[in-house]
Amino acid sequence: MTAPAIELKGISKAFGPVQANKDISIRVAPGTIHGIIGENGAGKSTLMSILYGFYKADKGEVFINGKKTEIPDSQAAIAAGIGMVFQHFKLVENFTVLENIVLGAEDSGMLMPSLRRARKELKALEEEYELYVDPDARIDEIGVGAQQRVEILKALYRKAEILILDEPTGVLTPSEADQLFRILDRLRAEGKTIILITHKLREVMEYTDTVSVMRRGQMTATVKTSETSPEHLAELMVGRKVLLRVDKVPAQPGAPILEIENLRVVDEAGVERLKGINLTVRAGEIVGIAGVAGNGQSELLEVLGGMRPGTGSIKLHGTPLPLSGAGSDAKARRGAGIGHVPEDRQREGLIMDFHAWENVAFGYHRDAAYQNGVLMNNAALQADTEAKMEKFDVRPSDPWLAAKNFSGGNQQKIVVAREIERNPDLLLVGQPTRGVDIGAIEFIHQQIVALRDQGKAILLVSVELEEILSLSDRVAVMFDGMIMGERPADQTDEKELGLLMAGVAGEAA
């Protein structure tokens, strides 16, 4: 038997009192794709950072190709043949592809010989692995998928034999993701070893040979992919049985709550982000907006939530709401009965340094129930927070804890509790489960469906196609600031939506 490409023995790492990795051992055979899944905060990223020399393990050993290897920094990792593709690309935006690939791996003081050599090698790599990118294009001119290929090329140029990819499909369209996995297949066939970190069960099931599950810093299991099922993996991740499909009865749409007509938004840089949106959301239905990030979904939520001006018309219960000037801010929208779970809870939905109870008032801090004369009624607010934490199972249920000290899922529960408990007529929901663990996802989905069943209207934006398909009753696909088509969620699939998301117009819905 050949030595494993990577073997970890008893890796432990603690940050203060938090044990991020606890006695982790895995063996990854060469020429395989090995998946690592786990909830947020399970310790996946810490483990990979140790492997790439960002952190030093407190205990444990790393073997590369059977040889014990010390990895004190990323230079050593590269020398050991490890390449890493981060979730957030580390490219210089205004450099060309070629310059980015050479950056940090120059042969000499002069740049030209390196670039010439790189151009030759790049051509060879492209042909070998079907990794096509224009070497002279600037990074900010090429798409996200191409940028990711540049990251892979960077690693291969540095002679990586082991490639680690951290949540590689988070920013890709389904077809771009397919292309990525074809490349990874090819790399595997050439004998490279690939470690795929992801929280998407589907990817793990479809593309990996073996999979390791992490939970709370520990490796709970390593199994052959062919011998497991999504349900089993989810159970291993969370530690209990999890409902993967959203459990809901068919929608009973009622009267229109939100009517959007010819809605346009021009951003601060003068770019038109929404180019005439028409959409209606009825009482008792969840309308999902699918699309690759950056196609206007954020702007749609922001303009509806009163965070930016627009033109056109929006009506709530038939009453027009102003889109600019007085009465168009977020306060007025809340007053009109619109709740908003923003896409970025850490930047917008919460003040991370505030206590949980202060965050429960965020946006509603002038509400009469929270006032006591000219002062705020902090006692009432704290009592309200305790009640909401109890109802939404926020852990730890300590109103005095700062928002930043909660996990992603519990932060999101605080936001969702605040917005849903206001009983809004229309709830705007952006990326409700981004960075949220599976257990909390299930809970948040149930709450949204429960609100729908009370006859409220819900507009959902998510880049997770699975989430859109399982949670929505109707799906609208956005591309380049326009709605490409609408489909009933039970009469469409990822393939059709994927085409629409890529801007290929379908027949009118």
């Binding site: 603690a14 203060g16 009192p17 938090v18 939530g305 009163g306 965070m307 801010d329 977020a330 306060k331 007025a332 929208r333 809340r334 908003h340 923003p342 970025d344 930047r347 917008e348 939905g349 919460l350 003040i351 991370m352 340094d353 505030f354 202060e358 008032a361 965020f362 946006g363 801090h365 002038r366 929270y370 006032q371 000219v374 002062l375 705020m376 902090n378 700062a402 000290n405």
Partner: protein, 364 residues
């Protein structure tokens, strides 16, 4: 997970910074051939050893409380108001006009309206940079610094050309009438049997400053407006999401900040000089930055830090008076304290955080 307990953050770090500054100052004093122990004794005796010393220490502290609070309120909104100096100068103009133009029957009434005038003038001086920041995005640090210079020039012009009494060569207003004389601590404390120094300048403004500390605490942590100010200071996108108008909040925070800085004039112009002179602020606006930094932008912290800086000012003056330590060196010592407690915060914080983490890990 916080890295350190709160008491370490608010007590230990300033204390260690202070000790470091003191040690370095001692080296400097040794370097010029003086005895640091004797110097400390002299400072403590001069500033805290008598009611006369206390009277000066508290007088300076009163100034620093106002300017420190001004910086703190702006800082909660995410704004760095370096214009306390200019706002305090204009506040002096407000006080002078109120005291000179209206014949007041009693000092209490005069105090209330002088404080109001000082506040309005200070706020008005902060309003222009605030508007430029809120509406035009001009950086408040730059504009408030510029406005300090403009304030000095305006005051110079007004004192020389408008308010200078006929025949006087001194660029200052005439003395305020006796009716607006503010009771000093001597006058306030004598009826309850405490014999406070007659010649020390500390006066009833100290109580106003303490009231301002309480007001700022209530404002920042107990009112919806304070909630909005803090939200905006922490996250601008968050404020937009919550429907908090950044223009309105920036304006209000800066007006309050300017008003607080301006109100310092009640102490130095009305309480001490009893007329408006050039350079009446003596740099107190800038000391306010250090006071707010050291006080962690908390009114109680500002209160304590202001007293500390009052001590340094008064003790420093005593040093200059009684030893051959030159006046410039006193400034060096004060600068060291500002440097360590304000600017070099992280130098102490980071090792201390490591120690706390290590101790905690040892316990687990």
């Amino acid at each position: 997970m916080d890295k350190m307990p709160k008491w370490a953050d608010v007590v230990l770090i300033p204390l260690i910074s202070l000790i470091l500054a003191a040690l370095l100052s001692a080296l400097v004093i040794l370097g010029i051939g003086e005895d640091p122990v004797a110097a400390v004794k002299l400072m403590v005796n001069g500033a805290l050893g008598s009611t006369y010393g206390w009277g000066y220490t508290l007088y300076y502290a009163t100034n620093f409380m106002f300017t420190g609070l001004a910086v703190a309120v702006a800082a909660h909104a995410g704004l760095f108001n370096i214009g306390g100096e200019g706002q305090a100068m204009l506040g002096g103009l407000g006080v002078a006009l109120v005291c000179l133009l209206i014949p007041w029957p009693h000092w209490t009434l005069a105090l209330a309206f002088a404080a109001l005038g000082a506040g309005i003038f200070g706020a008005a001086w902060a309003a222009i940079p605030a508007y430029l920041q809120a509406k035009r995005g001009s950086h408040i640090v730059i504009t408030t610094i510029m406005f300090n210079f403009i304030a000095a020039a305006v005051l110079n012009y007004v004192l020389v050309n408008v308010l200078r009494p006929e025949g006087s060569m001194d660029p200052a207003t005439e003395r305020f009438p006796q009716a607006v004389h503010l009771p000093s601590l001597h006058e306030l404390l004598a009826p309850i049997g405490i014999n406070f120094s007659k010649s020390a300048p500390a006066n009833v403004s100290l109580l106003v400053a303490m009231g301002a500390c309480l007001f700022v605490w209530l404002l920042i942590w107990r009112t919806p407006l304070g909630y909005e100010i803090r939200s905006l200071g922490k996250s601008e996108p968050g404020a937009r999401y919550a429907g908090i108008s950044s223009v309105r909040t920036v304006m209000i925070a800066m007006l309050i900040s300017g008003a607080l800085a301006g109100m310092m004039a009640v102490n130095n112009v009305m309480g001490e000089a009893e007329r408006l002179v050039l350079n009446a602020t003596e740099g107190a606006g800038f000391i306010g930055i250090a006071v707010a930094l050291m006080g962690r932008n908390h009114p109680f912290g500002v209160f304590l830090a202001a007293i500390l800086f009052g001590f340094l000012y008064q003790g420093g003056a005593e040093l200059a008076l009684w030893t051959s330590i030159p006046r410039e060196l006193i400034v060096v010592i004060q600068a060291l304290v500002i440097l360590f407690t304000g600017a070099l915060d992280n130098m102490v914080r980071m090792p201390l955080e490591k120690i706390f983490l290590a101790v905690r890990r040892g316990q687990n």
